[in-house]
């Protein structure tokens, strides 16, 4: 049993805190009555996941998670909701009876698949830990060598998104 007042104990506690944050955030995001609260829950969830990345030895990815998902995506969603209209419109309604069971089914499948994958994978033990894994230089190198194909495909997707949104915005202006 590790004492709570050592570095390991504290970091373990913090890790549990991140798990709790992610789960609580996810629950708020799916169950909140108003859309803005859902987004706030989503932001909490993203923060928890950033914590996981930090524990996975990639502080750069963790910070990017905060910068892009909390600071970019969540903020944009909130702005879109603000533009969309009054609070009555934002109340989430569940008219369809099938939605609940279907969601349970899909998420159950997802959990089963991911859990199976996690159990099958041979995880590196901490002995395999290599100094400097997950640094910016490392990430940049692998993005431009091993994963250059996916890197470029993602840029194409982003370009398409930008052009698409411009086309949509133009049409709106003509009316």
């Amino acid at each position: 049993m590790i004492s709570l007042f050592t570095a390991e104990g504290l970091s373990g506690l913090l890790f549990l805190g991140f798990i709790g944050l992610t789960l609580a955030g996810a629950l708020i995001a799916t169950n909140a009555r108003s859309l803005i609260r859902s987004v706030a829950g989503l932001a909490l969830c993203f923060l928890g996941i950033a914590g996981f990345y930090y524990y996975l030895n990639s502080p750069f990815v963790a910070l990017m998670q905060i910068l892009i998902y909390v600071g970019g995506v969540c903020v944009t969603i909130i702005f879109a909701v603000m533009l969309a209209g009054s609070s009555e419109v934002n109340k989430v309604s569940r008219h369809n009876v099938l939605v609940g069971p279907l969601a349970f089914l899909v998420s159950g499948l997802l959990v089963w698949g991911l859990a199976g994958l996690a159990l099958k994978t041979e995880w590196h033990s901490s002995i395999f830990y290599v100094e400097n894994w997950g640094t910016v230089a490392n990430l940049g190198q692998s993005l431009l060598t091993t994963y250059s194909m996916s890197f470029e495909l993602i840029s194409v997707v982003l370009l398409v998104a930008v052009v698409g949104s411009l086309v949509l915005a133009r049409q709106g202006r003509d009316k």
Binding site: F5, A7, I36, F60, I66, V70, I78, M82
Partner: protein, 336 residues
């Protein structure tokens, strides 16, 4: 049971950082009032203490003893969380700011990224607070703040990327370390890396003004049209914490400008002139407060711009120039 000295050091620094942030938030209000008064040929606060120096204390007591009103119809959870969400990231950013060679709570390799990440979280707090208040002024203010932040984040980040390229690191201590030995080694005059460096500093400064919603870019809390912008519904310390968060963000902006462009804790003179020592926390604070002084000076000198003027400035002038600077710098780095 023995405690790790590192943990004690970290705790001491955390308390110090919170104290520093709160002290600055309180006394920058005093500085702002004094400076504004002198610019307008008034005296400013003078009744409480010498030069009105105890005024922030009295203001603090006033704000704390006021009743916290949660207006009917607001979203109570978001309404209460928002001020905290503005203040906490600001304090977190102070953790990685090096005030001198040794005076830094945690010297992170990704320090610069930590600050930009937390700066974006604090904006989320403003938006949630504005929406939670269910007040049309607050929502209009949040909309303006959003377009402004999106527009000015781009040139700011491009300039920061340029500086990271020049320095080759995101560690704030190392970035300052590279600017040693007289003011002509500072990044603002690093013409060998890019002839546009002084312009880059200017762009960074303008973006800092816009990101912290300071005049002439304070469209989001234009008092004459939006009451108090996003804080309209807040009373007592809720308002106080929002205000402290704003000033803490100005301090962080000034700190980052000092670190990136003005050589941090290094003396502007070469080593032969020992004045406060070649590297000292005093130099850092002097530079930082000079920038803050200028920020306040600008607020009381220039009128507010129009909204389209503000967006045009960013999209049509600042972003193109910052990209030119980026390309020029990378070309210079490759060639020389």
């Amino acid at each position: 049971m023995t405690l790790d000295p590192e943990i004690i050091r970290l705790l001491a620094f955390l308390v110090g950082v919170i104290a520093f942030a709160s002290f600055n938030a309180a006394y920058l209000v005093w500085l702002e009032r004094k400076e504004a008064a002198h610019i307008q040929r008034r005296i400013g606060p003078k009744e409480v203490g010498p030069f009105g120096l105890l005024q922030p204390l009295v203001d603090g007591i006033k704000l704390m003893t006021k009743q916290l009103i949660v207006p009917a119809g607001v979203d109570p959870v978001l309404f209460k969380i928002a001020p905290i969400l503005v203040m906490v990231p600001a304090i977190m950013s102070f953790v990685t700011i090096p005030f001198s060679e040794t005076l830094v709570a945690r010297n992170l390799d990704l320090g610069l990224l930590v600050i930009s990440a937390f700066a974006s979280v604090n904006f989320l707090g403003l938006l949630l607070g504005a929406w939670g208040s269910r007040n049309k002024y607050a929502v209009i203010s949040a909309g303006r703040a959003f377009s402004q932040n999106v527009a000015y984040e781009i040139p700011m980040l491009v300039i920061v990327v340029t500086l990271v390229m020049v320095s080759g690191t995101m560690n704030l201590t190392e970035i300052v370390g590279l600017q040693m030995g007289g003011f002509w080694h500072w990044n603002i005059l690093n013409l060998a890396a890019s002839p546009l460096m002084p312009v880059a500093f200017l762009i960074f400064f303008v973006c800092m003004l816009a990101e912290t919603n300071r005049a002439p870019f304070d469209m989001s809390e234009a008092e004459s049209e939006l009451v108090a912008g996003a804080f309209t519904e807040y009373s007592g310390m809720g308002f106080g914490v929002f205000f402290m968060g704003e000033y803490a963000n100005i301090v962080i902006g000034a700190c980052v400008a000092t670190i990136l462009f003005l050589g941090g804790w290094h003396s502007p003179f070469p080593d032969t002139i020992p004045f406060f020592g070649a590297s000292s926390v005093i130099w850092f604070l002097l530079k930082m407060y000079f920038i803050i002084f200028t920020v306040i000076w600008i607020r009381w000198t220039f009128p507010r711009t129009t909204f389209y003027g503000l967006l045009n400035l960013s999209w049509k002038i600042l972003i193109p120039i910052s990209f030119v600077n980026l390309i020029l710098t990378s070309a210079m780095l490759k060639v020389f």
